[in-house]
């Protein structure tokens, strides 16, 4: 990683697209500068030798308990749809889907 700029405006735009958050052009540089400062601080990790070290995905060693294959009651549909912004034909309606 370069010692100066760690993240470009183009990368911020890309990340915002991946995260599906609309960011106005005028805001991009502000986010870039903040992320750059944070990533700059985090660059301290570069100096740590982790050769042969396993990652900790779960802080406490556990295994997934397996549940019995039994059907339990679902939620009443009215309750499920009550929170929906738009409902049509018993389903969650959204504006048209562009990509496939």
């Amino acid at each position: 990683m370069s010692a100066r700029t760690r993240i470009s405006v183009e990368e911020v735009r890309h990340v915002a697209r991946l995260a599906r958050i609309e960011i106005a052009e005028g805001e991009l540089e502000g986010y870039r500068a903040q992320l750059d400062a944070i990533l700059g601080y985090m660059a301290e990790l570069d100096r740590i030798d982790v050769a042969g070290v396993e990652p900790t995905y779960h802080a406490v060693a556990i295994r997934a308990p397996l549940r019995d294959d039994r059907v339990r009651p679902s939620l009443p549909r009215d309750e499920v749809l009550a929170a929906a912004p738009q409902v049509e034909d018993g389903g969650f309606a959204v504006p048209r889907v562009l990509d496939t």
Partner: protein, 486 residues
């Protein structure tokens, strides 16, 4: 009812209800009245469920009238952080994106509270989606510190800590990902326990960082915190990370006394960074513990200084994924658009505040192609080194002692524009979280300006009994926890 109940602890209130001295309905009603009078000024509460609370109180009274044995929190009013789902009662997480959202189910801990005959009276303010250390990122305005209204109460469970400190409820639930019950407890002069990862079910806790989140009690005494922990701890098959281990008798542990316990002091933590007043207060607490019969040893956590970097990579990577469900499709805010993609992008643009957006973008970046190994994976490996430090430390001691926060409560607005300085405020609470330990924060003094200072004790996984054993004796000996804001 007068103000006499205000500073009574949960166990005393419960005894009065069980003994028939006061009905749960009257007791809860008096707290609700106080909340209505004083709540607004403090900004600690986002929603007060008066009808639901009184209905539950009447159920408790009915059970008593029917001669049933009442639960360990009978009639006790509890405030619950607004990222814990409450069926039919707004659960906003302090975010516009969930404004008005009413979940169709209760969080596990809320079920447990009701089963213990407690009464959930209100939902407390928090940093938006639990992301923050000051409560200032709440979309509905910050909660304030009852000791000084121009100070932050800490975060993210700032509303819960402020409510308990101000006597609006005797106990509250918060959630702790990197210090979110301990740091606000420290800032507000109250007690909080961050349970071991897996000790309390996360079912119904709106996830911030799934590998770190835990629900924890906030109270004005260790004993109250211990009795709430006893209620909420234990296995829940809906959470695959919930531990299948017996729950210790925390109330009994509070009475056991700390003689013979070995307290490990992290000297480095008392050196660089912390405020001198904090260092002095914590230094005095070490002597107090020694006087109670504890042995004090020095321990070294050489990798703990990397916890801020590790935490903000791991937690935000998980958060970027956890918060993807807030897409405007099934619930919450929707900003209309011609196509679904733009709808979701605009909904999230308007629904999230700047801190949440920053963290989601940072987390997305850390997981994205080309950066995963350098950021996310690297952070998880350094996390292993931090855990190993604790493994070694706990070979020499039973508890690890540090300040909870390097400073007392800072001023509202002081750090909003400098995210990194805000993150550095969590330097002592993050390492135990990353290692999956349990930890407690208890008041250990005050600054000259009259602001509370907190002491943090951390113990190995599932050793919560050790925490309350030492902290209860410490509170008996010092009484810092008995001071109340004016």
């Amino acid at each position: 009812m007068s103000d006499e109940t205000r500073w009574q602890d949960a166990r005393a209130l419960r005894d009065r209800v069980v003994g028939g001295e006061v009905s749960a309905e009257d007791l809860v009603g008096s707290f609700l009245d106080r909340i209505e009078r004083e709540g607004e000024r403090l900004g600690a509460l986002l929603h007060v469920d008066r009808d639901g609370a009184l209905a539950q109180a009447r159920r408790v009274d009915g059970r008593r009238a029917a001669g049933e044995v009442l639960g360990p929190l009978a009639g006790v009013p509890v405030a619950v952080k607004d990222n814990l789902c409450t069926r039919g009662v707004p659960t906003t997480c302090g975010s516009r994106i969930l404004e008005g959202y009413r979940p169709p189910y209760d969080a596990h801990v809320v079920e447990r509270l009701r089963e213990a005959d407690a009464v959930v009276v209100a939902k407390t303010n928090l940093d938006e989606l639990a992301m923050g250390s000051s409560n200032e990122s709440s979309a509905f305005g910050p909660a304030k510190n009852p000791w000084s209204l121009d100070r932050v109460p800490g975060g993210s469970s700032g509303g819960s800590a402020a409510a308990v400190a101000a006597g609006l409820t005797p106990v509250a639930l918060g959630s702790d990902t990197g210090g979110s019950v301990r740091q606000p407890a420290s800032f507000c002069g109250v007690t909080a326990i961050k349970p071991t990862y897996g000790r309390v079910s996360r079912w119904g806790l709106v996830a911030f960082a799934s590998s770190l989140d835990q629900v924890g009690p906030i109270a004005r005494s260790v004993r109250d915190a211990a009795s709430v922990l006893g209620v909420i701890a234990g296995r829940d098959e809906r959470d695959a990370t919930s531990a299948d281990r017996p729950v210790d008798d925390y109330a009994a542990a509070c009475e056991r006394g700390p003689a013979g316990m070995r307290v490990g002091v992290v000297r480095e933590a008392l050196g660089a960074g912390a405020d001198p007043e904090v260092i002095a207060a914590v230094g005095a607490s070490i002597e107090a513990l020694r006087a109670l019969g504890c042995e004090v040893v020095d321990v070294d956590l050489p990798h703990a200084k990397h916890a801020v970097s590790v935490y903000y990579l791991v937690a935000n990577a998980e958060a970027s994924s956890n918060l993807a469900r807030l897409d405007g499709v099934r619930y919450g805010l929707r900003v209309d658009a011609e196509d679904v993609e733009t709808m979701t992008a605009r909904t999230r643009a308007r629904g999230f505040g700047p801190e949440v957006k920053r963290r989601i973008m940072l987390g997305t970046y850390a997981l994205s192609a080309g950066y995963y190994d350098a950021f996310y994976l690297k952070a998880q490996k350094v996390r292993t080194l931090i855990r190993s430090d604790y493994d070694r430390a706990f070979e020499r001691c039973d508890l690890v002692l540090t300040p909870t926060s390097p400073t007392a409560a800072f001023a509202l607005g002081e750090r909003v524009d400098d995210p990194l300085s805000m993150y550095l405020a969590d330097v002592f609470t993050l390492p135990p979280s990353l290692a999956g330990l349990c930890a407690i924060s208890t008041p250990c003094g005050f600054t000259r300006a009259g602001l509370p200072i907190g002491l943090q004790l951390a113990a190995p996984p599932f050793e919560e009994a050790r925490l309350v054993r030492a902290a209860a004796a410490y509170q008996d000996a010092t009484a810092w926890h008995e001071r109340h804001p004016a």
